[in-house]
């Protein structure tokens, strides 16, 4: 029986800039920051209210996972907003929306009443988009 998800992964264009975004703008905390050789970090973040989830900020760089060509394709796909990586929840979407907007987060959908609650959509600073929801 699977009971929960503990780790998930978001591909980002620049790991440090992604950390600045997720910590500085979204208010997440760094969970793990471990050096993996000279040119890599295992970096995970998560919402302060959800301590058992680690979101890995995985840089798209040439190496074992991507060769030069696939790294470029992946970077282009992320930049162009191809991927939606999930839904974040907030108890008060209007306050959160106003706060993130004030911090310069790009929204592609402002809070809108849907049958399941109120939903907005924003992008991170790589181009990945997320729903921001307040459940009914």
């Amino acid at each position: 029986m699977i009971t929960k998800m503990s780790h998930t992964c978001i591909y980002v264009l620049d790991q440090q800039e992604a950390q600045d975004f997720y910590v500085g703008k979204l208010g997440f905390e760094v969970r793990t920051d471990a050096p993996m050789g000279s040119n890599a970090r295992w970096l995970t973040v998560g919402p302060k209210e959800q301590p058992d989830l680690e979101i890995t900020l995985m840089p798209i760089q040439e190496g074992i996972v991507f060769n030069k060509e696939t790294a470029k394709s992946m970077r282009d796909l992320v930049k162009n907003g191809t991927f939606g990586f999930g839904v974040f929840e907030t108890p008060n979407i209007r306050a959160t929306y106003e706060e993130l907007k004030a911090k310069g987060v790009e929204f592609v959908k402002e809070p809108t009443e849907e049958f399941y609650g109120v939903e907005a959509i924003f992008k991170d600073n790589s181009g990945n988009w997320f729903s921001l929801g307040e459940k009914r």
Partner: protein, 144 residues
């Protein structure tokens, strides 16, 4: 037709509340007078406290204390500066009140928190693979 939630007049209230919250985020280390913030956000004090709590689940004072404790946690884990210095740097006026609030919120003293975080940090540096799930490690070519 879908109704835009932001078209509600409540949006203006949220902007003012958020402005006050961001003020606390930026000035947490200073002596903050909540009357001034309420005034800054154009609210009466009691109306302000009620709306702030509705939005963030804490009163402005509780939120300020949360911010100070969170900043102290970062400093305790990263910096080699004495606990007393950190206490004043994040805006507390006495080490006693800082330590007792810290313990109430986290269950441990600032000193114990610092030791735990340093141990964890050291292990992350020495044995990083202990923190990486196997699927990510193998696909990235990270091996012991």
């Amino acid at each position: 037709m879908k109704k835009k939630a932001s078209a509600y007049p409540a949006v203006y209230l949220y902007r003012r509340i958020v402005r006050a919250k961001l003020f606390i985020d930026q000035h947490y280390y200073q002596p903050i007078n909540l009357n001034d913030i309420a005034h800054e956000a154009y609210f009466s004090k009691y109306h302000f406290i009620r709306l702030f709590k509705e939005a963030y689940g804490q009163t402005p004072h509780q939120y300020l204390m949360t911010q100070r404790i969170e900043k102290a946690k970062v400093l305790l884990s990263q910096e080699h500066i004495p606990v007393a210095t950190i206490c004043f740097e994040v805006g507390f006026e006495s080490v006693g009140s800082f330590s007792s609030l810290f313990k109430r919120r986290t269950g441990i003293t600032p000193q114990v928190y610092r030791r735990q975080e340093r141990r964890k940090r050291k292990l992350m540096q020495k044995q990083p693979l202990h923190y990486v799930p196997g699927c990510f490690a193998s696909v990235s070519g990270w091996t012991p």
